[in-house]
Symmetry: C2
Subunit: 139 residues, 2 copies
Protein backbone atom coordinates (compact mmCIF):
# COMPACT_ATOMS: atom_id res chain seq x y z
CA UNK A 1 0.00 0.00 0.00
CA UNK A 2 2.61 2.51 1.11
CA UNK A 3 4.68 1.52 -1.88
CA UNK A 4 1.84 2.11 -4.30
CA UNK A 5 1.08 5.49 -2.74
CA UNK A 6 4.72 6.47 -3.13
CA UNK A 7 4.56 5.34 -6.75
CA UNK A 8 1.47 7.46 -7.40
CA UNK A 9 2.99 10.45 -5.65
CA UNK A 10 6.07 10.13 -7.83
CA UNK A 11 3.87 10.14 -10.92
CA UNK A 12 1.77 13.10 -9.80
CA UNK A 13 4.07 15.75 -11.21
CA UNK A 14 4.26 16.97 -14.75
CA UNK A 15 8.03 17.39 -14.88
CA UNK A 16 8.61 13.88 -13.60
CA UNK A 17 6.19 12.46 -16.17
CA UNK A 18 8.07 14.31 -18.89
CA UNK A 19 11.34 12.86 -17.63
CA UNK A 20 9.89 9.36 -17.64
CA UNK A 21 8.73 9.68 -21.22
CA UNK A 22 12.06 11.07 -22.29
CA UNK A 23 13.74 7.98 -20.85
CA UNK A 24 11.48 5.70 -22.87
CA UNK A 25 13.70 6.47 -25.84
CA UNK A 26 16.86 5.38 -24.08
CA UNK A 27 19.16 6.44 -21.30
CA UNK A 28 19.98 10.06 -20.70
CA UNK A 29 22.60 11.80 -18.63
CA UNK A 30 21.69 14.37 -16.01
CA UNK A 31 22.70 17.39 -18.05
CA UNK A 32 20.50 16.29 -20.93
CA UNK A 33 17.49 16.09 -18.62
CA UNK A 34 18.36 19.49 -17.23
CA UNK A 35 18.35 20.87 -20.73
CA UNK A 36 15.06 19.20 -21.62
CA UNK A 37 13.15 20.23 -18.50
CA UNK A 38 14.80 23.64 -18.19
CA UNK A 39 15.19 23.29 -14.45
CA UNK A 40 18.17 23.79 -12.19
CA UNK A 41 20.50 20.77 -11.99
CA UNK A 42 19.75 20.42 -8.29
CA UNK A 43 16.02 20.33 -8.97
CA UNK A 44 16.38 17.66 -11.63
CA UNK A 45 18.51 15.63 -9.28
CA UNK A 46 15.71 15.78 -6.69
CA UNK A 47 13.12 14.64 -9.21
CA UNK A 48 15.25 11.75 -10.36
CA UNK A 49 15.80 10.71 -6.77
CA UNK A 50 12.04 10.54 -6.27
CA UNK A 51 11.58 8.50 -9.43
CA UNK A 52 14.38 6.21 -8.39
CA UNK A 53 13.01 5.61 -4.90
CA UNK A 54 9.65 4.81 -6.47
CA UNK A 55 11.34 2.17 -8.58
CA UNK A 56 10.55 3.89 -11.87
CA UNK A 57 14.06 4.73 -12.90
CA UNK A 58 17.50 3.20 -12.56
CA UNK A 59 20.70 5.20 -12.36
CA UNK A 60 24.23 4.33 -13.18
CA UNK A 61 27.28 6.47 -12.66
CA UNK A 62 29.90 6.21 -15.37
CA UNK A 63 32.86 8.44 -14.81
CA UNK A 64 31.53 11.74 -13.63
CA UNK A 65 28.38 11.48 -15.66
CA UNK A 66 25.22 10.02 -14.20
CA UNK A 67 23.07 8.06 -16.59
CA UNK A 68 19.40 7.48 -15.94
CA UNK A 69 17.33 4.81 -17.60
CA UNK A 70 13.78 3.55 -17.38
CA UNK A 71 13.54 0.78 -14.80
CA UNK A 72 13.04 -2.78 -15.96
CA UNK A 73 9.29 -3.25 -16.01
CA UNK A 74 9.38 -7.00 -15.47
CA UNK A 75 10.87 -6.83 -11.99
CA UNK A 76 8.00 -4.89 -10.44
CA UNK A 77 4.45 -5.52 -11.69
CA UNK A 78 3.09 -2.25 -10.28
CA UNK A 79 5.79 -0.26 -12.07
CA UNK A 80 5.13 -2.07 -15.32
CA UNK A 81 1.40 -1.51 -15.09
CA UNK A 82 1.85 2.13 -14.18
CA UNK A 83 4.08 2.69 -17.17
CA UNK A 84 1.57 0.97 -19.42
CA UNK A 85 -1.12 3.23 -18.02
CA UNK A 86 0.93 6.32 -18.72
CA UNK A 87 1.72 5.21 -22.23
CA UNK A 88 -1.91 4.68 -23.16
CA UNK A 89 -2.92 7.98 -21.58
CA UNK A 90 -0.13 10.34 -22.57
CA UNK A 91 1.56 8.84 -25.60
CA UNK A 92 1.44 11.37 -28.42
CA UNK A 93 -0.08 14.18 -26.41
CA UNK A 94 1.12 17.68 -27.11
CA UNK A 95 3.72 18.18 -24.34
CA UNK A 96 5.21 14.73 -24.90
CA UNK A 97 5.53 15.23 -28.64
CA UNK A 98 7.09 18.61 -28.08
CA UNK A 99 9.62 17.11 -25.71
CA UNK A 100 10.39 14.34 -28.16
CA UNK A 101 11.32 16.87 -30.80
CA UNK A 102 13.40 18.94 -28.41
CA UNK A 103 15.10 15.83 -27.11
CA UNK A 104 16.17 14.85 -30.60
CA UNK A 105 17.83 18.23 -30.95
CA UNK A 106 19.49 17.91 -27.57
CA UNK A 107 20.89 14.50 -28.41
CA UNK A 108 22.57 15.96 -31.45
CA UNK A 109 24.57 18.30 -29.22
CA UNK A 110 27.71 17.62 -27.28
CA UNK A 111 26.96 16.82 -23.61
CA UNK A 112 30.07 18.73 -22.53
CA UNK A 113 28.71 21.85 -24.11
CA UNK A 114 25.41 21.40 -22.27
CA UNK A 115 27.13 21.13 -18.92
CA UNK A 116 29.27 24.17 -19.61
CA UNK A 117 26.24 26.25 -20.48
CA UNK A 118 24.46 25.02 -17.35
CA UNK A 119 27.25 26.06 -15.01
CA UNK A 120 27.58 29.44 -16.76
CA UNK A 121 23.90 29.95 -16.10
CA UNK A 122 24.55 30.67 -12.41
CA UNK A 123 28.21 31.72 -12.41
CA UNK A 124 27.71 34.74 -14.63
CA UNK A 125 24.37 36.55 -14.81
CA UNK A 126 26.39 39.73 -14.42
CA UNK A 127 27.35 41.54 -11.19
CA UNK A 128 24.66 44.20 -11.39
CA UNK A 129 22.29 42.15 -13.50
CA UNK A 130 18.93 41.57 -11.85
CA UNK A 131 18.06 37.93 -11.20
CA UNK A 132 15.28 36.73 -13.44
CA UNK A 133 12.42 35.44 -11.29
CA UNK A 134 12.42 31.88 -10.15
CA UNK A 135 10.39 29.41 -12.07
CA UNK A 136 6.97 29.00 -10.56
CA UNK A 137 4.83 25.95 -10.70
CA UNK A 138 1.58 26.11 -12.65
CA UNK A 139 -0.69 23.38 -11.27
Amino acid sequence: MKKVVRLLQALADENRLRALFALERGELCACQLVELLRLAPSTVSQHMGILRRAGLVAAEKRGRWMYYQAADEETSPPVGRAKAFLRTCLQDTAPILRDRKRLAAILRRDPHELCRRQSRRTASAGPTAERRGRQRRSR
Copy 2:
Protein backbone atom coordinates in the same frame (compact mmCIF):
# COMPACT_ATOMS: atom_id res chain seq x y z
CA MET B 1 -1.86 15.97 -19.70
CA LYS B 2 -3.16 18.31 -17.02
CA LYS B 3 -6.12 16.00 -16.61
CA VAL B 4 -3.94 12.95 -16.13
CA VAL B 5 -1.78 14.79 -13.61
CA ARG B 6 -4.87 15.76 -11.67
CA LEU B 7 -6.01 12.15 -11.78
CA LEU B 8 -2.68 10.95 -10.43
CA GLN B 9 -2.66 13.62 -7.73
CA ALA B 10 -6.12 12.52 -6.67
CA LEU B 11 -4.90 8.95 -6.37
CA ALA B 12 -1.75 9.85 -4.46
CA ASP B 13 -3.36 9.77 -1.03
CA GLU B 14 -4.01 6.76 1.11
CA ASN B 15 -7.36 7.92 2.48
CA ARG B 16 -8.69 8.65 -0.97
CA LEU B 17 -7.60 5.23 -2.21
CA ARG B 18 -9.41 3.63 0.71
CA ALA B 19 -12.54 5.58 -0.15
CA LEU B 20 -12.33 4.46 -3.77
CA PHE B 21 -12.06 0.82 -2.79
CA ALA B 22 -14.93 1.13 -0.38
CA LEU B 23 -17.09 2.44 -3.21
CA GLU B 24 -16.26 -0.58 -5.36
CA ARG B 25 -18.80 -2.49 -3.28
CA GLY B 26 -21.58 -0.03 -3.99
CA GLU B 27 -22.66 3.48 -3.17
CA LEU B 28 -22.08 4.97 0.25
CA CYS B 29 -23.39 8.04 1.96
CA ALA B 30 -21.06 10.65 3.41
CA CYS B 31 -21.53 9.63 7.02
CA GLN B 32 -20.60 6.05 6.20
CA LEU B 33 -17.35 7.19 4.64
CA VAL B 34 -16.71 9.39 7.65
CA GLU B 35 -17.14 6.38 9.87
CA LEU B 36 -14.89 4.21 7.73
CA LEU B 37 -12.04 6.68 7.38
CA ARG B 38 -12.39 8.11 10.89
CA LEU B 39 -11.90 11.65 9.64
CA ALA B 40 -13.90 14.80 10.25
CA PRO B 41 -16.93 15.19 7.95
CA SER B 42 -15.43 18.33 6.45
CA THR B 43 -12.24 16.50 5.62
CA VAL B 44 -14.07 13.63 3.94
CA SER B 45 -16.08 16.14 1.95
CA GLN B 46 -12.84 17.67 0.70
CA HIS B 47 -11.46 14.31 -0.33
CA MET B 48 -14.62 13.37 -2.17
CA GLY B 49 -14.55 16.70 -3.98
CA ILE B 50 -11.05 15.94 -5.21
CA LEU B 51 -12.06 12.48 -6.37
CA ARG B 52 -15.10 13.93 -8.07
CA ARG B 53 -13.17 16.62 -9.91
CA ALA B 54 -10.75 13.95 -11.09
CA GLY B 55 -13.67 12.02 -12.54
CA LEU B 56 -13.21 9.03 -10.26
CA VAL B 57 -16.42 9.35 -8.29
CA ALA B 58 -19.97 10.47 -8.95
CA ALA B 59 -22.19 12.05 -6.34
CA GLU B 60 -25.91 12.25 -6.03
CA LYS B 61 -27.87 14.12 -3.41
CA ARG B 62 -31.02 12.39 -2.26
CA GLY B 63 -32.87 14.28 0.42
CA ARG B 64 -30.27 15.53 2.82
CA TRP B 65 -28.00 12.58 2.34
CA MET B 66 -25.23 12.65 -0.21
CA TYR B 67 -24.49 9.38 -1.93
CA TYR B 68 -21.17 8.70 -3.58
CA GLN B 69 -20.56 6.03 -6.15
CA ALA B 70 -17.68 4.85 -8.27
CA ALA B 71 -17.69 6.68 -11.59
CA ASP B 72 -18.66 4.79 -14.71
CA GLU B 73 -15.40 3.45 -16.06
CA GLU B 74 -16.54 3.29 -19.67
CA THR B 75 -16.96 7.03 -20.10
CA SER B 76 -13.33 7.91 -19.43
CA PRO B 77 -10.60 5.50 -20.56
CA PRO B 78 -7.96 6.98 -18.25
CA VAL B 79 -10.24 6.55 -15.25
CA GLY B 80 -11.05 2.97 -16.22
CA ARG B 81 -7.40 2.11 -16.69
CA ALA B 82 -6.41 3.79 -13.44
CA LYS B 83 -9.02 1.82 -11.54
CA ALA B 84 -7.84 -1.39 -13.16
CA PHE B 85 -4.30 -0.53 -12.12
CA LEU B 86 -5.38 0.04 -8.54
CA ARG B 87 -7.33 -3.19 -8.40
CA THR B 88 -4.43 -5.30 -9.59
CA CYS B 89 -2.05 -3.55 -7.20
CA LEU B 90 -4.08 -3.14 -4.03
CA GLN B 91 -6.86 -5.72 -4.19
CA ASP B 92 -6.66 -7.90 -1.11
CA THR B 93 -3.88 -6.01 0.58
CA ALA B 94 -4.05 -5.64 4.34
CA PRO B 95 -5.56 -2.14 4.68
CA ILE B 96 -8.17 -2.80 2.01
CA LEU B 97 -9.24 -6.10 3.56
CA ARG B 98 -9.45 -4.45 6.96
CA ASP B 99 -11.64 -1.72 5.54
CA ARG B 100 -13.84 -4.26 3.83
CA LYS B 101 -14.53 -5.93 7.14
CA ARG B 102 -15.18 -2.67 8.93
CA LEU B 103 -17.38 -1.49 6.11
CA ALA B 104 -19.56 -4.58 6.41
CA ALA B 105 -20.08 -3.74 10.07
CA ILE B 106 -20.86 -0.13 9.28
CA LEU B 107 -23.43 -1.10 6.68
CA ARG B 108 -25.25 -3.13 9.30
CA ARG B 109 -25.78 0.00 11.38
CA ASP B 110 -28.38 2.70 11.02
CA PRO B 111 -27.02 5.72 9.09
CA HIS B 112 -28.97 8.07 11.38
CA GLU B 113 -27.11 6.75 14.35
CA LEU B 114 -23.77 7.32 12.58
CA CYS B 115 -24.61 10.94 11.88
CA ARG B 116 -25.75 11.53 15.43
CA ARG B 117 -22.51 10.12 16.82
CA GLN B 118 -20.50 12.22 14.40
CA SER B 119 -22.13 15.49 15.43
CA ARG B 120 -21.80 14.60 19.12
CA ARG B 121 -18.10 14.15 18.53
CA THR B 122 -17.56 17.91 18.35
CA ALA B 123 -20.58 19.22 20.26
CA SER B 124 -19.66 17.53 23.53
CA ALA B 125 -16.04 16.73 24.40
CA GLY B 126 -16.79 18.38 27.75
CA PRO B 127 -16.31 22.03 28.78
CA THR B 128 -13.06 21.51 30.66
CA ALA B 129 -12.00 18.40 28.77
CA GLU B 130 -8.74 18.81 26.89
CA ARG B 131 -8.96 18.37 23.12
CA ARG B 132 -7.27 15.24 21.97
CA GLY B 133 -4.59 16.10 19.40
CA ARG B 134 -5.56 16.47 15.80
CA GLN B 135 -4.93 13.56 13.56
CA ARG B 136 -1.51 13.78 11.97
CA ARG B 137 -0.52 12.46 8.61
CA SER B 138 1.92 9.58 8.48
CA ARG B 139 3.57 9.62 5.03
